[in-house]
Each structure stands twice: as C-alpha cells, then as structure tokens.
C-alpha cells in the first residue's frame, strides 16, 4: 500500500505553531493513534517547529509534511528564511536542549539535518505499535 502525503505550509511565526500542532492531531487520529500517542505527536511537532523558528533570523515559511502509512506516521519539517547560528543565545540553547529531550522521548526516531551545527530540517516517525 502506498503512503499518503499531507503537506502544510505556514508562516514561520509563533502564532501559527498551534495550527501545525492541531493538524498533527487530526492526521494521527486518522492513522489510529490513541490519545496519549496523539499528545506525544502534537508535542513533538510543536517542539520541532520551535527549534527551527529559533534558528531563523528572518523567518519566512515552514513546510510540514505528514507521511501516512497504515501503522506509521512520518513527519518532515523544513524552515525557510535566513539562518545564523551565531544568533542563538545561551538561553535558546538551553531551551533547545529541553526540546530535544522532549522530541526524542515522544517519537520513535528523530533525525536532524544539520549545516554547520544549525538545524535546517527535522525528520521523525512514530509507530502505531500494534
């Protein structure tokens, strides 16, 4: 069976993160994840977006792709805009670490597309587990 792809494009601004989070819940529900798993996925999507937004000096757009298999959800998040790794404050680095803990705990796999230590994109997946 082939995968279904749902793509969402939002402005890379804090006020739109909720849209991606709630959309991820709808997609996860379609696959059959339970309430706790859906909370995990929502949280992971938000944290991944926060990480990318915080590394954009001039945020433009976020592309979020949901790849739906019968028992797996894959999520790819790309940011568009200007990147400047030196712009990240110590405070942001600490918060990014919190985000990484949350991501790795909520999803079955998380991969970062790095360029000179800057996160350009995040790929993650979660199995239904049944």
């Amino acid at each position: 069976m082939s995968s279904d792809l749902i793509t969402l494009a939002i402005p890379a601004k804090p006020e739109y993160v909720m849209i991606a989070r709630l959309s991820s819940a709808a997609v996860a529900t379609r696959i059959g994840f339970d309430v706790d798993q859906i909370e995990d996925i929502k949280m992971a999507v938000a944290e991944a977006i926060i990480m990318i937004i915080n590394q954009l000096t001039r945020p433009e757009k976020l592309s979020i792709s949901f790849i739906l298999d019968p028992k797996v959800i894959g999520i790819e998040i790309f940011g568009e805009g200007d990147w400047e790794s030196s712009n990240i404050s110590t405070h942001d680095l600490g918060q990014a670490q919190l985000g990484k803990y949350i991501l790795s705990s909520m999803m079955d796999s998380v991969k970062f597309d790095l360029d000179n230590g800057t996160i350009r994109a995040i790929f993650m997946h979660k199995d239904l587990g049944v």
Partner: protein, 108 residues
Amino acid sequence: MILDERFDSDTKMWYISLDGEIDIYNAPEFKEKLHQLIQQNPGDFILDCDSLNYIDSTGLGVLISALRRVKEYNGEIKIRNLKPYIYKIFVITGLDKIFTIEVGNREQ
C-alpha cells in the same frame, strides 16, 4: 495563561492559577507577568495547573527563568495539579528534580 493571582502577605506566598496553553506565542507575556509579580512581592510561588492544558519548552524556559530569580532570595516555586501528560514533560526534561511538584496533597 494566568487565570488568577493572589498574594498572601501573612505567608508571603503567591497563589497563581494557570489555564489554557503556554506556548511560544504567549510565553513572552507569561515571562513578563511572572517577573513583574516577583518584583512586586518577592515571595514563594504556588502554581496551580489544574486548568493548564499544554506547555511547551518555551513555557518551561519561563518557569526556569522565574525559578532562578526566586532562588536569589531563597524562595521556591511549587507546582500543583499537573495533568499526567504535562507531568510527563517535567519528568522527561528532568524539571521534576528542580521544581517541587505536588499531586493533590502529596509531594512527588
């Protein structure tokens, strides 16, 4: 975000009720408000999270920032009535070790 705030001058304790969501969008406002309360009356804080439905890492960052300020005068922040899936976030990030987290009347 902050539903209610009350300062008990006898115990020098802030009672804060949180509600809804604390996320990357409203975290700056939440930070400003907490720091304002700390400046207004440097006391201990009890955060009642009974109506809090979501907090992300930016919201957690605000709590850490507030805790640093409160620790400067040897105060503390107690967090009450976390929903299980929010308490899970505190455990995952290790923040359950630096905040005093109470479930009902029982400290964890």
